[in-house]
């Protein structure tokens, strides 16, 4: 029963994709007006006879590829119980429609790397604000390695929420999903408060990786950054990372840190 519920949650990102796609073709209506012949086509419709440009020179270059990377989180987290270091970033290369994405995140705690998650995705723009992304995920850190297939959506939701939802299926036939969101509150044009949260859900527990069935872990932060310039913004934050439900019990039994609120300092930067 709970498993079915979990599957449903995991499949949510996949099923909502068509609704997010929003794309709809213009459908002309053949309404003739007085003595006017209305041809419902665009004067600049794609043509089967391509234009031959002199010297094969296209007058503008609207189909270029771009390359960017961003480290959203690059931070030290401090608490009496133990401090750690975390990064979360992504890079992409490609055109308006087709891009290759690399996403990576991980946490270094007591010299041990955990929550290492690295994804290589193909991304296709499907609507004004959303991309569908598919590829592979590898959990590589000091725990056992897992590999997954990934399919999800990423984009800007209503009210300008940054949103990502990805479903995963592992090489061992397990399912997982991750939902991430963030929002930028502009206090001033350079001082920006950003609440952010990431949730991971799994269908089956994986104690070796501190994973429990159901809602397994959460990583959230409230970051106050100052954009010295757009591409460089130091921040202070409070962050919370913790295990929930079954994972909480697993970690507790392993005498691990089940959750902590930490003072955090970091830098957001991009190129």
């Amino acid at each position: 029963m709970t498993r079915a519920l979990l599957l449903a949650v995991i499949l949510v990102p996949v099923t909502v994709m068509p609704t997010l796609a929003q794309g709809s073709a213009a459908t002309g209506t053949a309404t003739a007006t007085r003595s006017t012949k209305t041809a419902y086509h665009a004067a600049d419709a794609p043509s089967s006879t391509p234009v031959v440009y002199l010297g094969n020179m296209k007058p503008v270059m609207d189909h270029a590829s771009y390359f960017h990377g961003i480290l959203d989180e690059f931070e030290g987290r401090y608490a009496p119980g133990g401090s750690d270091f975390r990064w979360d970033g992504e890079a992409w290369y490609g055109t308006d429609y087709n891009r290759v994405w690399l996403k990576t995140e991980g946490t270094l705690e007591h010299g041990r790397l955990h929550d290492g998650d690295h994804e290589l995705l193909y991304s296709r723009a499907i609507s004004s604000y959303f991309n569908v992304q598919g590829g592979v995920r590898a959990d590589i850190d000091d725990g056992p390695t897992r590999t997954w297939g990934a399919l999800g959506v990423q984009g800007l939701a209503l009210y300008e929420f940054e949103f990502q939802a990805t479903a995963y299926v592992s090489d061992r036939g397990r399912f997982a999903t991750r939902i991430e969101g963030s929002y930028d509150f502009l206090l001033t044009n350079r001082l920006i408060l950003q609440p952010q949260a990431e949730f991971n859900l799994y269908t089956k527990s994986d104690p070796a990786r501190q994973v429990g069935a159901g809602l397994s872990d959460v990583d959230a932060g409230l970051r106050l950054r100052y954009e010295v310039w757009r591409k460089f913004a130091p921040y202070v934050a409070v962050s919370y990372a913790g295990y929930l439900t079954q994972a909480h019990r697993i970690v507790h039994d392993q005498r691990g840190e089940t959750g902590a609120l930490r003072f955090t300092f970091g830098v957001r930067s991009w190129f």
Binding site: T36, S128, L186
Partner: protein
Amino acid sequence: MFTASRTRDGLTRRRFVTGCGAGGLLSALPLPASASPVAPGAVPAAASATWNLSVGRRRIEIDHKVLHAPCIGGTVPGPILRWREGDHVTLNVTNTLHDEETSIHWHGIRLPANMDGVPGLSFTGIPPGETFTYRFPVQQSGTYWYHSHSGMQEAQGLYGAIVIDPRRPDPNACARDYVIVLSEWTDVSPMDMISNLKMQDDYYVFRQRTLASLPREARAAGGLGAALKDRLQWSRMRMAATDISDVTGIIYTYLLNGHAPDMNWCGLFCPGERVRLRFVNAASMTFFDIRIPGLDMLVVQADGNDVEPVPVDEFRIGVAETYDVIVQPRDSRAYTIFAQSEDRTGHARGTLAPQAGMTGPVPPMDPRPVRTMIDMGMGDMGMDDMKPEHGMKDMDMPGMSEKDTHMDGMDMSGMNHGDMGHMDIDHMDHMDHMDHYAPSTPVMEVDDPGPPPINVENQNVAKMPVDRLGSPGDGLENTGRRVLNYRQLRATRPGTDRRPPSREIILHLTGNMERYIWGFNGRKFSESGPIRLKLGERVRFTLINDTMMEHPIHLHGMWSELENGQGDYRPYKHTIISQPGSRLSYLVTVDAPGMWAYHCHLMLHMELGMFRTVIVA
């Protein structure tokens, strides 16, 4: 530089940069252009039919921003070219750049297609080390300009003004005649701008709504609730009401004749003299709002064509437009030419003074404009004064609830495109009855693509595009000053082609700010076909602006006759501002065969897809 210099009667009447006293302060009496540089802004003493222009890069520093700028003759702007109507001009353009090609496009000039200077369409560009000779008859007069059409060199300094003497006596001849070229200066390359904007669309905008600005907005909106509601509406649409200019004064220094504001370009006059100022907006991304506090400006020419004089306090000049104004300063004091960018992040400034070195007071900048639902194409609430008889509110719009008209445009699932297409037709019928849409003869054929799709390349559909020709533009509507609007432009001569159009082409201006993609009809250039026109036909272009920004639309090679309610005296323009959420139309006599460019003159919009090839055959 001149090889066939001519002088004309009446030139001796003109004094250019000399002051009131004998000899003047700047001893730049008419000299051959080879002895240039004359003071920037001074029209050369005589027209010439032959020009040798050399394109190279030169290190130029303005406002602590160093750029190896592509330019002509080592100056930004390049030399002012003075031609004479009726002459055959010869322009030898030599490319001395090391490893990049160049080109010069003569903006607004009627000429054979192979002389238009657009690589790929007119010719194959000018490779390094080579000279291309442009030759064409000059069939027009007035103020124009030229710029590169290669590799975004225009954004870095490859532009300059053209002044063409009319064959007939110039009704607007003045004792003083200055060219005022407005532009931008930055050390950020256009490629970097594009790349940054692809990653973050508001990269250059530091005037957004914030917590800090909320109290001010609440006061303006009449309550905190109203201010928050407006914010929520915009954020629901994933757009910003503060999105005025894509690239702003955060990186731009605004130039007047190549002078930063603190360099204070100065034009001299004697009190009582009439001074003609030929404004050219050679910027790549900036609209300017121009005024000279203390002086009435008489607008006498738009885009090179004489118009019935309109006295104004201020006017907006879109990218690539030109306006000639006449002022008559009577006091012996300095007057400031103040050209603030539309987004109010900076200004260009110069001075008219009886003596060099004087400065006038520089006014404070106006508040930055904020976009409204009119800009989103949601109708003309609050603009009733413009269209008393046929306000959109009176229209019967089935399926559009009050809620719809306010906002829900972003909810695509709820939109019925079929209905909207129908509504557009209704709208046109209403327009036909409106007397400022003078040509009521029905056109024979309409190319109507219908409302554009909402897709990767388009984020909005203007549900109720309105006529905004009577509006001076966002930010200028309630300034208390007399600001020029398009409806006031009336040609001094009736149009030469009295035929009604036989075809109408409706184009939607579309884009996705978030992804920074621009185009027409929901497609960028590389995904569209050419617009094919038949030689000899008369076409009405109707532009519906579905975006929330102004777009200066420029058709190469042929005039765009703006249908602004002036009947046969409609103004001939080469660049027409389409205001956000608006609908306008203009007529084109298709009399120039060949391949022509048709595009938004905001350089980054053009480069990212708001460009079409027009093929006339």
